[in-house]
């Protein structure tokens, strides 16, 4: 009877192995699918984010450039510049520096332009000062030059003087 038990056990084992044979393909396919889905999902998420963040940044960047370039074409006074700023950024206002004769517009820390004017004008009735005669628009921040725009450097010749 011992032989009978062995033969039954072996037959069961044969069917077991046949079942394994069919299952193993499924296992490998699942493992591969899991790996593929994980890798591609990560790439999809990461790259989509980069694409979107840069596309969003373009919106603010192009509007700041547009103020600088349109300003060069149409702006004469600081009031003109303020109107132009409001056209592209209704919620953000530029700030004036009467002493330096500049108007600085900061849409964000990465998007800053500084307009330089020739003279200060004063309204005789109200006493309000404004700037007139646009000379240039400094876009060095937009160009990625790290230093914030400063006033024109003077005395470069003096650097060589030792005493």
């Amino acid at each position: 009877m011992n032989l009978k038990n062995i033969s039954i056990a072996l037959t069961v084992l044969v069917f077991g192995v046949i079942a394994m044979l069919f299952m193993q393909k499924g296992n490998y396919v699942n493992q591969a699918r899991e790996h593929y889905e994980m890798t591609t999902a990560k790439s999809f998420k990461g790259n989509s984010m980069v694409l979107e963040l840069v596309n969003n940044a373009i919106d603010m960047n192009k509007a700041t450039w547009a103020i600088a370039c349109e300003g060069l074409q149409t702006v004469k006074t600081s009031q003109d510049m303020a109107r132009l700023e409001a056209k592209f950024f209704p919620a953000t206002k530029g700030s004036m520096n009467i002493a330096n004769k500049t108007r600085r517009f900061e849409a964000s820390t990465a998007n800053i332009i500084v307009s330089n004017f020739a003279k200060v004008e004063e309204d005789k009735k109200t006493g309000v000062k404004s700037l007139a005669g646009l000379v240039s628009v400094d876009v060095s921040v937009l160009l990625g030059k790290v230093a914030a725009p400063v006033e024109t450097e003077e005395g470069a010749d003096e650097e060589g003087a030792e005493e």
Binding site: L10, F44, V54, M60, W65, L72
Partner: protein, 186 residues
């Protein structure tokens, strides 16, 4: 069942078992190899396609940045055709400044340096000149994907400058990252 038949059954079972185990081992290697290979192939192909979109975006931003710089320089300086040519050549040649300007936009967007360098290594800078039409009186400049700006000169002086395409520049419709397709074992 008599003893003799039992014996035959045991022997047959053992033979089948051995054969099955051999088949199992052989197929195992084959399935494993095929699963790894197909997954790798499909991953690589997707990642390449996917990264290509960022490469295109980077090169577009290079052209876009040069175009703005050109418009600003032309409007700031002497508005003549020779000055345009000189300015354009200088902007295109200054590769460090080009990288800096792109990188500034990406940094402002919140993309860190490692990611930027990764894209830059694959994309480099936009190839060729952004000047796509260079007649004496009429110039057309590429300013990124699907973006062209126009400079018109009369007697060597700037008569008209149309950079509305730059003001409306938008990549969100032209560049898309597709979702990964289903994995196929075959």
């Amino acid at each position: 069942m008599d003893k003799k038949k039992m014996k035959i059954l045991v022997v047959v079972d053992i033979v089948i078992l051995v054969a099955l185990i051999i088949i199992l081992m052989t197929l195992k290697g084959g399935y494993e190899e095929q699963a790894k290979r197909t997954a790798n192939e499909q991953e690589t192909s997707y990642l390449e396609k996917n990264t290509q979109v960022l490469v295109e975006q980077w090169r577009s931003i290079d052209q876009y940045s040069m175009a703005w710089k050109l418009v600003h320089s032309v409007l700031s300086g002497v508005k003549t055709e020779p000055a345009f040519n000189t300015t354009l050549a200088a902007i295109e040649a200054d590769k460090d400044a080009r990288f800096k300007q792109i990188s500034h936009l990406y940094t402002g967007a919140g993309i860190n340096e490692n990611v930027q360098n990764g894209i830059f290594q694959k994309a480099g800078l936009a190839e060729g000149s952004i000047l796509i039409k260079g007649d004496k009186n009429s110039k057309e400049v590429a300013c990124g994907k699907d973006c062209v700006i126009k400079f018109e000169f009369a007697k060597g002086k700037l008569k008209n400058l149309d950079y509305s395409a730059l003001v409306q520049f938008n990549l969100s419709k032209s560049l898309k990252i597709e979702k990964p397709a289903e994995y196929h074992f075959e």
